[in-house]
């Protein structure tokens, strides 16, 4: 078994992370990327986030609107819609349950932290 690194874990939970950082505030692509990185997901790749945004939009969890920008191209903002919020709630529960299970397993088997 190869060692688990953040990049691998991210693949499974990036959807959730993106939905989560959009919960309180809409954001454009690079803004979302910055929020994820400043929250501690430094390894997240640009392409992964933009691809994920595209997929979440296609799945109907996000709405978009364009805001003109003075110094560059117009920015497309992403916002959670009702479906997105319910998806965030559901996935959040699944993740918490999973994380708790993993914590328990690691604690019981005496894995060092």
């Amino acid at each position: 078994m190869h060692s688990v690194d953040t990049t691998q874990l991210l693949k499974g939970v990036l959807d959730l992370a993106v939905l989560a950082v959009l919960r309180d505030e809409d954001g454009y692509g690079y803004d979302i990327l910055r929020r994820l990185r400043s929250s501690g997901l430094e390894e997240v790749g640009d392409a992964s986030v933009y691809g994920t945004l595209r997929r979440l939009f296609q799945a109907g969890y996000l709405t978009t609107y364009v805001v003109p920008s003075e110094e560059g191209p117009h920015r497309k903002y992403y916002a959670l819609n009702a479906a997105g919020r319910s998806q965030l709630a559901t996935s959040g529960k699944v993740w918490r349950a999973f994380a708790t299970t993993m914590d328990t397993i690691l604690a019981e088997r005496g894995a060092t932290t």
């Binding site: 690079y30 691809g51 997929r55 560059g72 191209p73 497309k76």
Partner: protein
């Protein structure tokens, strides 16, 4: 946004787009909708160039489509990750060197200067191609391959051929970044080939006046010199010097000397005649003179009796074949 950054963005974007070429156009453009703004943000942060920050465009495209839940590129051959990473590291180091060199010429990066010079390269490439076509038209073999006769001497023909080649080259140059990887490399290879052919075929013509002194040097065909005194007697062991005291060494020393002289011992080993006088007769081709003397036999060993009994006063420079 400056022209330079927009060029870098459009180049990167075109390569990403090329790597997504198998997707339906609508899907592809949706996927790339945010990219101009994204790439502008990345560049605005400074630091490395786009490939240094985001990895090669092809890998970026692969990550993008994977995250978007699209199938991997059909028929795409992806290098193993190790190779991919290695190449990218090389690119990152190259990027640093690029910046350092760029500071020397007053640009953020050397590539910026190269980007600005690119249209110049397109024109040069077309110009060289046009000249090569004209050159080929002069050649009998290639002229037969052409459906029409080209007369490279006519300035109108010159203008048309070179002009058409320049226009074609510039159009190809503008379209190159959008081509698939293999076609792009084909364009680069063709450019290198044109430069190579131009160097081989055109450069010698451009420099022929410098490289061919025999075109104007009347002494170019001389292989030996036979001095005579005022009474018509052949002289032996004569040395020539110019007005500055530098030895004049014309003729072909090796014809009658097997060992080449050592200039550190003998500053002017050219003692005329170089070959024995008996070898020469008036009207005889100097280059056709048979070489029969023993190795090392100096001209000074020649008996006077064998001197040619002709041409008393004037110096009969032995260049009848001029």
């Amino acid at each position: 946004m400056t022209t330079l950054t927009s060029t870098e963005i459009s180049d990167y974007l075109q390569r990403v787009r090329a790597a997504l070429a198998d997707l339906p156009a609508e899907t592809r453009e949706e996927l790339l909708e945010d990219e101009p703004a994204h790439l502008a943000e990345v560049l605005a942060e400074g630091g490395a160039d786009l490939a240094g920050r985001l990895g090669p465009p092809e890998r970026y495209a692969a990550d993008l489509r994977a995250a978007a839940g699209l199938p991997p590129a059909t028929g795409a051959v992806r290098a193993p990750v190790v190779v991919d990473e290695l190449l990218n590291n090389i690119k990152v180091y190259a990027s640093r060197a690029d910046r350092a060199a760029g500071r020397l010429v007053g640009y953020p990066r050397l590539v910026d200067l190269a980007h600005l010079l690119r249209p110049g390269w397109w024109v040069l490439r077309g110009y060289l191609l046009g000249l090569l076509v004209l050159l080929a038209a002069r050649d009998e073999f290639f002229a037969r391959l052409l459906p029409f006769r080209l007369n490279p001497g006519e300035s109108l023909v010159w203008l048309l051929v070179v002009g058409a080649a320049v226009v074609a080259s510039v159009r190809v140059g503008r379209a190159t970044p959008g081509l698939s990887r293999w076609r792009r490399w084909a364009v680069y290879a063709a450019g290198a080939l044109i430069v190579l052919l131009a160097l081989v075929n055109l450069a010698p013509r451009a420099f022929q006046y410098e490289s061919g002194p025999s075109y104007y040097n009347p002494f170019g065909g001389i292989t030996d010199v036979y001095p005579y005194d005022q009474n018509g007697n052949p002289l032996d062991g004569v040395q020539f010097y110019d007005q500055n005291g530098n030895p004049i060494q014309i003729g072909e020393y090796w014809r009658c000397h097997t060992e080449y002289p050592d200039p550190s011992i003998d500053r002017n080993p050219y003692r005329y005649p170089l070959c024995p006088p008996s070898q020469w007769r008036p009207g005889m081709e100097a280059s056709a003179a048979p070489v029969t003397s023993e190795p090392g036999a100096g001209p000074s060993a020649q008996p006077e009796a064998s001197a040619p009994a002709t041409t008393p006063t004037a110096t009969p420079a032995a260049s009848p074949g001029r």
